[in-house]
Amino acid sequence: MTQDPTSREGSAPGGRASSIPLLGRDAEPTIFELSSPGRRAWSFRDQDLPDWSADELVPPEHLAPEPVALPEVSERDLVAHFTRLSHRQYSVDLGAYPLGSCTMKYNPKLCDDAAALPGFAHVHPSAPASMTQGWIELLVSLGDALCQVTGMHAVTLQPPAGAAGELTGLLLMRAFHTANGDPRRKVVIPDSAHGTNPASVTLGGYETVTVPSDERGLVDLEALRAVLDTDVAGIMLTNPNTLGLFEEDIAEIAAMVHEVGGLLYYDGANLNAILGVTRPGDMGFDIVHMNLHKTFAVPHGGGGPGAGPVAVSARLAPFLPGPLPVRLADGSFGWSTPERSIGRMHGWHGNGLALVRAYAYLLANGGDGLRAVAEAAVLNANWMRVALRGAYDIPFDRPNMHECVVSATRLRKEHGVRAMDVAKRLLEEGFHAPTVYFPLIVDEALMIEPTETESLDTLRALADALVRIAEGASEADHDAPRATPVGRVDEARAARHLIPTFDAR
């Protein structure tokens, strides 16, 4: 043998490709480093066509002088590379993922099978209704169910995620006011709101007005009253809010906002808490988006795709994006665009296969099952709050809904251990970390959402770990996590020396 032994770290050469499983701490080279000129995985069917060359097919001024360089690997190395990468990735299927606001519940495998059916997957989006009756029926049925769950009148399934749903809602708000000849400039959000809310407000062409939370962790009614005027197009709320607390005054808030002619927008990220218990429509909301990738078991895919349908009350229905799937008089299914539609929020009909998953989940749970989801989600989060009392500060120690927010302020003061350190320690303990530093109004926030699919045994193990971490808090926690595929990652360096591609190295 003549080759030098390859180094285990850093820029691993191709050969190391096949040598790192199970030993989490070895690096995996990039696919570019595994590439070898001329190696290949592809094969294609015989087309039996004339062998026209690129010169014959492409005008010379358009023809690429050289092909784009892509990884050249065998199928074997391709599969091994991504399989090894998967071994460097935590996921719900591996364990608890109590990431607050994200509702990382277990997604039934049934939904994977539903979404994989060729009769859904291989349908062209331009195919006419006559050839896509099953798809459209599914969209109609899903929409009906979502209206029932939210207590709303009509729905669009186009928005591909929550933020897109928010913007859809804001554009509906704008269209509504504009149609009323009453353009307005401001949208109110609480200081506990998720970042997508103000960002969407801006894109909707509005100005954000922030209202503070009161000592209960709820919208400060007086402060709200102070900002409400006829220039307010609406308010965006999530209820339960991002502290996991139910906005008890919601009826009064709705009355106040409606009074000045504003609309109420419901950020459905926290819908899991209230399924079958109470409904945004009944609370007085006019517009509701849902995160199907939170509440309805669309798996999060490492960051998406999700689905963010928007349901509205009757007065906003004429503005919905189109085309909308509809049941026709003869019982068949078709498309219809509302007369004053704001337009389109997606190139086609939204994230269809994600919608199939959500529909399967809805059918499996049914009305009774959805209520059970909410009950268990809320029970779990309350259990967790009580279990963590003493070990952590609980800024709003009152009955919470599907998540609870605790604080590491004391740990920071006494041991210099911050919320981020607790999070990293928890990774070491084999759990995913809670959401940290959100909501912004809680110092050293740890936002814990166990979800309904975690058992009491798992909750106990998680609480044990969190208590153990608090009790053992020390400077050494800055070195956590130690047993993970990589140690603490230098985020500042990433921004300072930006390397966004392999070629930028």
Partner: protein, 445 residues
């Protein structure tokens, strides 16, 4: 309790006692009585998973699917390309599927590295320096490109080629209602954009958006578009077709500042239109305005290579109303599919897909143009799809062709003079193309 709630009666009792409550109902004491839903949701009771699968199977069977029911000659932004077994079987590993956005990089290196590799391939395909970690789809990627350009130039007028996908233009208009951007459509002339010689009246454009190849399949002159943009100090935004990129010069090399596209052709089935994949890349000078997540390489405390989402201060969770975009959840899993598919193709395979699609398209074009009554919509050169005029309405032809076993194409709207947009990919064979032409001849007779 529902199927997916683990708690036993005993668990619930113990837990209620622990939190000091008497019943599950008490969990919702904080919800005002008046708001509580009496009688529960008006939905059918839950079904076993087997009954659910029967029901969704019934719905799936009520569609005509490509390959099993219809041979697909439709494109127009959604293409029937091959997806090898290795791609979905690998991308659908549950570690990728059931992870959240990589907020804790120490346990998310799998997704992060896959995205880093994805970004690299997209940057190479577009010929630009930086690609983000995905956007929703081609349409919303155009929206983001426009938002970036307007922010960069401070000018909110955007010239949009009439060759940009009509659904995408509809999306641009919808979003522009919020941002207030002024979109000016520039019509096609014989298949390619006719740009105005002057400023077109009013504020000069801050951006010029063109699709390459365009919706009719024609190859736009990007050099000209670049000149138009330069004339106005505008950014050139190109919506490219990543398959065509297998043989065409990169938009980056032709002067694009921002390149967007629809990534569906690489590893994503037609799926009735979603989830698809918004490709987005920029010249490095615009990196701080890039929307959505961006993965960067860095080191861990022990000096080992590691990946992390970076330049996070652009994003909504930190920058809130001043963020470069509101996007949070994106299409990561589809980006992973794309990265795997592109690695399966490699340098030579990408070129093959482009060439084989172009060959099939040329053969189809020749065969259908030989039919009496079928005319090409435009004479500009095309590559992987083309538009035709027919004696019947496009919609009618599509319905009739379905009876012959074909999805004939995408009917074109009035702005293109009607007709049909026809595409053939590397999946189409000579015998399918012959049969298609024969069927078309029959149905339009």
């Amino acid at each position: 309790m529902g199927h997916y709630v683990p708690h036993t009666e005993a668990d619930i009792e113990e837990m209620l006692a622990f939190v000091g409550l008497d019943s599950l109902e008490d969990l919702f004491m904080v919800v005002p009585e008046a708001l509580r839903l009496a009688g529960g949701l008006d939905l059918a009771p839950g079904l076993s998973e087997f009954e659910v699968l029967d029901e969704v199977q019934r719905l799936a069977d009520a569609n005509l699917a490509c390959s099993s029911d219809l041979v697909c000659f439709a494109g127009g932004g959604a293409y029937d390309h091959e997806i090898p077994s290795a791609v979905w079987r690998t991308a659908m590993r549950s570690e990728f599927v059931t992870a959240y956005t990589p907020y804790q990089p120490e346990v998310a290196q799998g997704v992060l590295q896959a995205l880093f590799e994805y970004q690299t391939t997209i940057a190479r395909l577009t010929g630009l320096e930086v690609a983000n970690a995905s956007l929703y789809d081609g349409a919303t990627a155009c929206v983001e490109a426009i938002n970036l350009a307007v922010a960069a130039t401070g000018r909110s007028t955007v010239w949009v080629s009439g060759g940009v996908h009509p659904n995408w233009r509809a999306t641009l208009r919808t979003y522009a209602a919020g941002t207030g951007h002024r979109l000016v459509d520039q019509p096609l002339d014989d298949g390619v954009t006719r740009w105005p010689a002057d400023g077109g009246g009013g504020e000069g454009p801050g951006a010029v958006l063109v699709q390459y190849p365009n919706y009719l399949g024609c190859l736009e002159d990007l050099a000209e578009a670049r000149q138009v943009a330069d004339r106005h100090g505008a950014l050139l935004l190109v919506a490219f077709d990543p398959v065509a990129a297998g043989v065409l010069r990169t938009p980056g090399s032709l002067g694009a500042d921002v390149v967007v596209g629809e990534g569906q052709p690489f590893g994503t089935p037609l799926s009735f239109g979603g989830p698809y994949l918004g490709l987005f890349s920029v010249r490095s000078e615009h990196v701080r305005r890039i929307p959505g997540r961006l993965v960067g390489e860095t080191l861990d405390v022990e000096g080992r290579r590691a990946y992390v989402t970076t330049l996070r201060t652009r994003e909504q969770d930190i920058r809130r109303e001043k963020a470069s975009s509101n996007i949070c959840t994106n299409q990561t899993l589809i980006a992973v599919c794309c990265a795997i598919q592109l690695s399966w193709l490699g340098t030579s395979g990408l070129r093959e897909v482009a060439l084989r699609s172009a060959r099939a398209t040329r053969a189809t074009r020749e065969a259908v143009l030989a039919i009496d009554g079928v005319e090409a919509t435009a004479s500009a050169p095309t590559l992987r799809e083309f538009a035709i005029q027919l004696p019947l309405a496009g919609e009618a032809v599509v319905e009739r062709m379905a009876e012959e076993g074909f999805l004939a194409g995408v009917p074109l709207g009035d702005e293109y003079g009607g007709g049909l947009l026809v595409a053939a990919t590397e999946r189409r064979t000579a015998s399918e193309i012959d049969a298609y032409a024969a069927a078309l001849e029959k149905v339009i007779r």
